[in-house]
């Protein structure tokens, strides 16, 4: 009775993993390749959001192919010597139990968080491991770009997507049936939507909300939305309608966000909806004053100043935004969105810069600022030279198109 459903209903076979058919297909064909010997890409990188099936897929893979599994994760020390010790032997030897033909699957979970100081040399060890290995290697990460580019290059990249609401609902229904629970469809929808594609948290929530019950209704979930969500949207909406300074500041207290994050949300959304230029200037005065106090608090470790920052961003904005508003959809702070969007691009850029830097005996920073723009022009206008440089520096397709787009 004390069992967690995420464990009880954990997929044991690859085909039981839902909503990731493309990923499963890629994993399987890569693994098939290992049957014929070491493939050109000896490792596979499974990346994607939390609770989408990555770790489970690695375990199911080992099980299905009859490979012994050796796992290292962020709870293990992952220095150069440690990785070599644990995986090194495994990497070149066959398994004791499966005979000479059998293999071991080396799983490096949470590979994007190999720690800078505590795990010194971890990535280097991995690279060496990949060169020597006679066994398949799985890397798992939430953020593929946190893994060094030269390591990523020798991996098959497999994306685990956030699960759609429909698929999550289906999975919740399956569990309800197995547990003999009747659930209102809308209730399951609320849970599935709140999970934002994270199936593990959906299943966890289903279990905690049906505890000791055989029925789940929407009523059981009234407080849930408020509970799970940061509900910054509600906060912003109310900030645009309150009129008293006191009410505005209490709104912020109920929001589960540190003041600097709250300010980013306010800054992104409120000014867009203010139409009068004077109001806009006033709103920005409040925002900028809040920002100043946050800066002072941080620099002087004087967190007593947070209170003033909070009041300015809430009451200050509410009392200066005026009444002429043009409503539009709230959205996350753009620097967060932009950062995510341009991240892939920046990763390619950095990879190019590093290759160029090595070749030109300079730093990646200098290469990026001074040499890349020049190469950009070459790649755009002089195909022949571009081809020569590409083969000399071993640019990938993505890298040479990046340069071309730059010029």
């Amino acid at each position: 009775m004390s069992e967690l459903w995420v464990e009880k209903y954990q997929p044991r076979k690859l085909r039981e993993i839902v909503g990731q058919s493309k990923a499963i297909q890629d994993i399987t064909s890569w693994a098939e390749g290992w049957k014929k010997g070491k493939p050109t890409k000896p490792a596979i990188l499974l990346y994607g959001a939390a609770g989408t099936g990555k770790s489970v897929a690695a375990a199911a893979l080992a099980h299905e192919f009859g490979w012994d599994l050796i796992e290292m994760n962020a709870s293990d020390k992952r220095t150069l010597s440690e990785i070599k010790r644990v995986a090194g032997a495994a990497a070149s030897a066959g398994t004791l139990f499966a005979g000479a033909g059998g293999r071991r699957l080396i799983v490096l979970d949470e590979a994007d968080t190999i720690h800078g100081t505590a795990d010194r040399g971890g990535y280097r060890a991995l690279k060496e491991l990949l060169e020597e290995t006679r066994n398949p290697l799985v890397l798992i990460a939430n953020d593929q770009y946190a893994i060094p580019w030269d390591l990523r290059m020798v991996c098959v990249l497999v994306n685990f997507r956030r699960l759609t609401v429909d698929i999550a609902i289906k999975e919740l229904q399956r569990i309800c049936r197995a547990e003999g629970i009747t659930a209102e469809p809308l209730a399951l929808k609320v849970i599935a939507e709140t999970a934002k594609g994270d199936l593990r948290s959906a299943i966890n929530d289903l279990q905690t909300f049906t505890l000791g019950k055989k029925r789940l209704t929407v009523k059981d979930l009234v407080l849930y939305r408020r509970d799970r969500e940061v509900n910054v949207f509600d906060f912003l909406k109310q900030l645009l309608s309150v009129s008293s300074a006191k009410d505005a500041r209490t709104l912020l207290w109920a929001l589960d966000l540190p003041p600097n994050d709250a300010l980013a949300w306010i800054d992104e959304n409120i000014p867009r909806m203010v139409t009068d230029p004077t109001d806009l200037a006033n709103v920005y005065d409040a925002i900028s004053r809040a920002d100043i106090f946050l800066g002072r608090a941080r620099r002087g470790q004087a967190y007593g100043l947070w209170g003033y920052a909070s009041d300015l961003m809430s009451a200050g904005v509410a009392t200066s935004r005026g009444e002429h508003l043009k409503w539009s959809k709230f959205r996350p702070p753009s620097h967060i969105r932009r950062f995510a969007r341009t991240r892939a691009n920046r990763a390619v850029r950095d990879a190019v810069a590093r290759k160029v830097a090595k070749r030109c005996h300079t730093s990646a920073r200098v290469a990026r600022k001074d040499i890349l723009p020049c190469l950009g022009v070459v790649f755009k206008h002089d195909k022949k030279t571009a081809a020569a440089i590409t083969s000399q520096l071993e640019f990938t397709d993505a890298e040479s198109s990046f340069l071309k787009a730059m010029g």
Binding site: S2, G212, K246
Partner: protein, 321 residues
């Protein structure tokens, strides 16, 4: 054998979920966990002094009875909690079998939003791999500081500041237990100074009661070096009315006669502003000014001069006609 508990926040810390004041929805869901003996990993988020750790301890006690101490590892903010602690101490504890006849042990991580992100990552797989023998309860102020994969592994509960009524309820419980006379004014004063933080409320009461069994409004403000809100309001009203000399006299009374700290007076002014009859915009402008003076105090400026200057600014306001 056990030494008498003299610190009231400990002495009156609820031992059972049913004794917790406020946070009803949370408590009733936690009680369901206890009756079913099913516990997911838990993440408790909310301001200080709202019952997070208490709720965690109640759960452990009710689940395990006498065996609770052996099956609980508590890591506080004061402990070293970098990545190495998580990889060694926490992991080693998580992998051992529970003692006595209980299904799992519990690891309670206080102020878990103070864990570095590396340390948080080091926790993820441990939470999964040893879930058959260990459950985690994480306390934090802001859940947004906890990485998504950990949130994914937990049921999340948000604790709220306690209401005036709830604090009053607790104060009366203690007054009864300690045979105190607690005047209604004193209760109001404690509610005012504690700002929804139960721990602070109880501490304030114990401090005042240390002097005398009869606790009234005056003893609360005296002992805690806090000005009466009326006095602060009066001072501000004088300043707004253009009676700078009188306002300044009041200020000196607070700073010199009562010996309050400039920072504390400022904080009280900050709270009172929102209760003054002034245009809403003006209140915000004043808060901005206050912040400025507060910053100067942080930088080591003279508190008397800075607060006097602040009063002068109040004199510039045209009262609402």
């Amino acid at each position: 054998m056990v030494e008498a508990e003299e610190i009231w926040v400990e002495k009156y810390r609820p031992q059972k979920l049913s004794e917790i004041v406020g946070q009803q929805e949370i408590v009733s869901r936690l009680q369901a966990f206890v009756t079913k003996k099913t516990l997911p990993h838990l993440l408790f988020a909310g301001p200080a002094g709202t019952g997070k750790t208490t709720a965690a301890l109640c759960i452990v006690r009710e689940l395990f009875d006498e065996g609770w101490r052996q099956n609980l590892l508590e890591l506080n903010a004061s402990d070293e909690r970098g990545i190495d602690t998580i990889r060694t101490k926490v992991k080693d504890y998580a992998r051992t079998k529970p003692i006595r006849d209980v299904p799992y042990k519990i690891i309670l991580l206080d102020e878990s939003d103070a864990l570095t992100s590396d340390a948080q990552h080091a926790l993820r797989r441990t939470m999964e791999m040893f879930a058959h023998s260990t459950r985690f309860i994480l306390d934090c102020n802001f859940s947004s500081r906890i990485i998504e994969p950990i949130q994914s592994r937990c049921a999340i509960f948000r604790f709220r500041r306690l209401s005036a009524k709830e604090i009053e309820h607790m104060l009366k419980r203690i007054a009864h237990g300690e045979k105190l006379t607690l005047t209604p004014d004193a209760i109001k004063a404690i509610i005012y100074v504690s700002d929804g933080d139960m721990r602070r409320a109880i501490n304030v009461l114990q401090t005042a009661a240390a002097l005398e069994k009869k606790v009234d409004e005056k003893s609360i403000y005296d002992v805690n070096a806090i000005a009466k809100p009326e006095e602060v309001r009066r001072m501000l009203e004088l300043a707004v009315a253009g009676k700078f000399d009188d306002a300044r006299n009041k200020l000196h009374e607070l700073l010199i006669d009562k010996g309050l700290a400039g920072e504390d007076v400022l904080e009280q002014v900050h709270r009172e502003i929102f209760n003054l009859k002034l245009p809403e915009r003006t209140k915000v402008e004043l808060v901005d000014k206050l912040g400025e003076f507060s910053f100067r105090l942080v930088q080591g400026a003279n508190e008397r001069i800075q607060l006097e200057a602040m009063l002068a600014h109040f004199g510039l306001i045209k009262p609402k006609s």
